[in-house]
Symmetry: C2
Subunit: 169 residues, 2 copies
């Protein structure tokens, strides 16, 4: 049952295999810089705490969003709903730059951030701290505003495919 | 439908409401220090990257696990499966300290870390960096070993209750 500590696979493979089992909510992180919008699919998002309201995202230095987020010092985390499955291809490689925003219903918040108007939730953040590690930047966002949809049906990513959660309690 | 930007609720409440919509895999983070085991339920875990294999966890400074993790410089992230729902009460307040480990099948890894032997996955980490923010420590772990169960049925937490993922692709 357990393929634990197999000596024939390296830690890199075992790590990837383990991470496929960390089911996560799919998000689109957005920002705007120099009149252009940037957006990318991300699952490496987690809550930090309520004092102050904050979260963190992990962004690869190679991502097109990386430099604009650090330059604008603002970003928005849009939690996707099951109905947003069709946004995954354009926001994860099929399209680039502004053309990604032709897919989905996008609006602009007063702080100058693009947000998905029917997202599960949109969290508007100011960059408060950055920790560089390996080839990623861990970006701490202080949440300055949030929009929330009442119906709860976040889009999940698990084992390389999309999923929805069913309550079991 | 949208309760967006309601002026009658503060950002703290909207933040909490939004975070309840970030469905996450439930984990138990463990460590050992000075001959004692420590463990706590956590959902603030995310993958960092493969170069090097790494993840991060967010730990409140008030958590009993906080000081032992920083002292031992090692921790294990155990991803729970649906069958582990009964571990939530003891590991989130009903019990404290060593007595928590009377629940579940625990073993000890050669690096001196307790792990749940039938976890969805167990990731053994060395603390590589720490960023303090607000009342939390963001702890970056370099993954030095991993155990993985083949069957994929992670235990999720969404909107204050437990859930399981159903593939929709």
């Amino acid at each position: 049952m357990l393929t634990a500590n197999k000596r024939d696979t390296g830690i890199d493979e075992r790590f990837k295999c383990a991470m496929r089992r960390l089911a996560s909510t799919v998000t689109i992180i957005t920002t705007e810089w120099d009149g252009r919008r940037y957006g990318m699919i991300a699952t490496a998002v987690c809550s930090l705490g309520v004092n102050p309201p904050s979260l963190l995202v992990s962004v690869a230095q190679s991502a097109s969003l990386h430099d604009p987020v650090l330059a604008s010092k603002h970003f928005c985390v849009n939690l996707l709903r099951v109905l947003h499955a069709d946004l995954l291809p354009p926001f994860s490689g099929q399209h680039t730059g502004e053309s990604r925003f032709e897919f989905g219903c996008w609006a602009r918040h007063e702080v100058g951030l693009p947000f998905l108007s029917n997202a599960q939730a949109s969290l508007f953040c100011k960059v408060d701290d950055v920790l560089r590690y390996g080839d990623h930047a861990i970006v701490v966002g202080r949440v300055i505003d949030a929009r929330v949809a009442e119906e709860i049906e976040p889009l999940l990513y698990q084992n390389g495919s999309i999923a929805a959660a069913q309550s079991i309690s």
